[in-house]
């Protein structure tokens, strides 16, 4: 099931208080998902299947993703300082997100994912390889990597490009982010 905003509204599942059934089902069916989250909450944004998978990866590494629907960067300013947020957005959303974080938050990592090529930029030190080689979806692998970066105290800009056989059309581009308010 594609998690469009319209579908979520129709099912009364939009924003915050509960995750969509399809998402919770996807997460519950995976190894490790029954464990109690160890690291706390990450707000999760996006409207496509990629978001489900990203949340899965975060959950597998001990985070509790809280699904918040489509990213509205303006709403981020209402969240408490220290809130972690991850997800997918479009070009306009990324411009707005980064500009709203100026002097107000931290960008831990950004990703640009186009036709099997993944450009990742971390401000938390070097990235590790699993995105390129792990089984399962790249979005879940990205979630596991973002889960690790959310915990590390290393700082420093680091950019890396991964190649992975495409699972999406070549002209499809997705933009991911991991930020702390």
């Amino acid at each position: 099931m594609k998690l469009t905003r319209r579908q979520l509204l129709k099912n009364g599942l939009l924003l915050g208080s509960s995750i969509p059934f399809s998402m919770s089902a996807a997460w519950a069916g995976q190894t490790g998902s029954t464990e109690v989250p160890q690291h706390g909450q990450i707000n999760l944004y996006g409207t496509a299947d990629s978001t489900t998978e990203l949340g899965l990866g975060l959950r597998q590494k001990g985070w509790a993703p809280r699904y918040e629907g489509r990213l509205d960067p303006l709403m981020l300013s209402a969240l408490p300082g220290g809130t972690l947020a991850a997800g997918f957005t479009d070009e306009a959303g990324l411009v707005l997100l980064t500009s709203l974080l100026v002097g107000r938050g931290r960008i831990l990592a950004l990703g640009r994912h186009t036709g099997g090529v993944h450009h990742l930029m971390s401000q938390r030190g070097p990235l590790v390889e699993p995105l390129a080689v792990e089984a399962g979806s790249w979005q879940a692998a990205l979630g596991r990597e973002y889960a690790r970066l959310a915990l590390t105290s290393t700082t420093g800009r680091h950019a890396q490009q991964f190649h992975r056989p495409t699972e999406t059309p070549l002209n499809t581009s997705e933009l991911s982010f991991l930020v702390r308010l």
């Binding site: 990324l94 411009v95 707005l96 980064t98 500009s99 100026v102 002097g103 800009r157 950019a159 002209n171």
Partner: protein, 516 residues
């Protein structure tokens, strides 16, 4: 794979920089001096066709008072630390919140966000640089004042001070922002503070109502410049009119731009149409909510056939004029008849307002909001048109004459076409001038396309200058080149002023091409 080393200000030794940072932490507090890469990362997001590595700050300072700004300026002078000042950091497409060059320390004034005064009688405001349009709007609503703002298009998050100081424009009758600015408080490079206009008179009640003060008028020196740090600014607010009628006029032929401007000019100069009218091309009007690849997937310029399909599908014209009338209902009826008669003569225009205009495609709803000072973020949609995160505003000025508009449109389309880019453009019609605003959108992830965008922008600047057209504003990557088109005598004056006011060159070096 790459990992970046520590960034230092140009010409400053690491030990000196560390000492300066320590001093900044004494002036501010530790949380207001940012040096970690994840804190600085938001300041590095650029959309220009420049190298990311050229726009990385070495730190960011977030003062809350003008007195702190004074102390910061003194410290920067002592250690020769260059600072790049931003207000809210939303100069998107012109350099955003990034420094003018790598190593500069960002002086981020967004926490200086006090609304010091809004006077509903004389319709003025006095605010600090961090005040956003949304914040001022909310304040006015809360107080119940019948006053309108004049926000630019991506407006809620931007602020009046930053936009005015970069000589930005909006869409109400107060659209030329610097024209409606009145009085400044400025911290100079040596840490001294000066108030312009009537602000030098202690307890003056006319600081925000009389622009000129006494002696040379100097407010303009602090716009698009690096001669001081504006810490307060006055502006005039428009009283809410009793009635308001936004309207839309569509023309379908590319050649019609000449007629539109010829009809508009006398209406604008005589203030029959008092607001900053926009004449929006198809691709801008559609680009705020349509994605290019739905119509064309090539990497060259979008072809005429696809533009015609967009016009049909979206119900928009080749040129879409958004304008408004203001006043009493009786005044609006009189002026509407004049407007209708003027635009009806050739039989080419489709003139609409109210429900008819709302039903047409394009941007009537958000344009109507902007022309009455309400805010929205609709134009962020342009970043999705081509994708890839590249955007540069090319903004030459012309006379409000049909022949010049036709000439500029043809020249822009020819150069953009040569490099494979789309003409995503609008004209903003001033009293006598036109701001021809073109968003050069490109895929910044593709090095070849980014190089083409760079070359294209550079050629646009040169070719327009050859025909007598200069830019009213540009992004940090091209400030030097644009400054060059205005000639050496003017640059020499700018440099002389810089040397006099900022002999150590610590304030925003390179802004508008101005250095020591």
């Amino acid at each position: 794979m790459s990992t970046a080393p520590r960034i230092l200000p140009k010409g400053v030794a690491e030990a000196d920089f560390d000492t300066a940072l320590g001093r900044f932490r004494e002036i501010l507090d530790a949380d207001s001096v940012l040096t970690e890469s994840d804190q600085l990362a938001p300041y590095t997001k650029i959309m220009m066709a420049g190298d990311d590595a050229d726009y990385i700050p070495s730190g960011a300072l977030l003062p809350t008072t003008a007195e702190q700004v004074q102390e910061i300026a003194r410290t920067c002078n002592e250690f020769k630390v260059p600072i790049w000042t931003i207000s809210t950091g939303k100069n998107l497409g012109y350099g955003s919140a990034a420094p003018g060059e790598t190593g500069q320390v960002i002086l981020d004034l967004h926490r200086m966000n006090r609304i010091i005064n809004v006077n509903p009688d004389v319709c003025t405001a006095l605010i600090e640089p961090g005040v956003t349009y949304q914040q001022l709007y909310d304040y006015i609503q809360e107080k119940g004042y019948k006053l309108w703002l004049d926000p630019p298009a991506p407006s809620a998050i931007a602020g009046p001070v930053g936009n005015t100081l970069d000589r930005g424009v909006g869409y109400t009758p107060y659209g030329e922002h610097f024209m409606f600015q009145c009085g400044m408080e400025v911290v100079l490079a040596n840490g001294e503070m000066v108030r312009t206009g009537m602000g030098g008179i202690e307890n003056s009640s006319s600081w925000q109502v009389f622009k000129w003060g006494y002696g040379p008028y100097i407010d303009g020196l602090f716009t698009q410049s690096n001669y001081g740090i504006v810490t307060k600014m006055g502006l005039w607010l428009m009283p809410e009119p009793p009635a308001y009628r936004p309207f839309l006029i569509q023309y379908q032929d590319p050649e019609d731009i000449e007629e539109i401007v010829e009809v508009l000019r006398p209406l604008r100069i005589s203030q029959i149409i008092p607001n900053a009218v926009v004449i929006v091309h198809t691709l801008w009007d559609a680009g705020t909510h349509v994605v290019r690849k739905d119509y064309y997937d090539g990497t060259d310029s979008i072809p005429r056939e696809a533009i015609e399909r967009i016009k049909r599908d979206e119900g928009i014209g080749e040129w879409n004029v958004y304008a408004a009338l203001y006043g009493t209902p009786e005044q609006i009826e009189v002026n509407w008849n004049i407007v209708e008669q003027a635009f009806s003569k050739s039989g080419k225009a489709k003139i609409m307002y109210g429900e008819e205009a709302e039903k047409r495609g394009g941007g009537f709803e958000y344009r109507s909001a902007l022309m009455k000072g309400d805010m929205n973020l609709q134009e962020f949609g342009l970043y999705n048109w081509r994708g890839g995160g590249g955007s540069m505003w090319f903004a030459p000025v012309s006379q409000a004459k049909g022949s010049e508009t036709k000439d500029q449109t043809a020249l822009a389309q020819q150069i953009l076409g040569k490099y494979g880019f789309d003409y995503v453009a609008e004209y903003i019609v001033g009293w006598r001038d036109m701001h021809h605003v073109i968003d050069l959108l490109y895929n910044r992830q593709d090095p070849d396309e980014t190089q083409r965008a760079y070359d294209c922008f550079a050629e646009l600047i040169d070719e327009f200058a050859k025909r007598g057209y200069g830019l009213y504003r540009t992004n940090t990557e091209f400030m030097e080149q644009v400054a060059g088109t205005f000639g050496e005598p003017l640059r020499n004056v700018h440099t002389a002023l810089k040397n006099a006011l900022d002999p150590n060159g610590i304030l925003s070096p390179g802004k508008s091409g101005i250095r020591q």
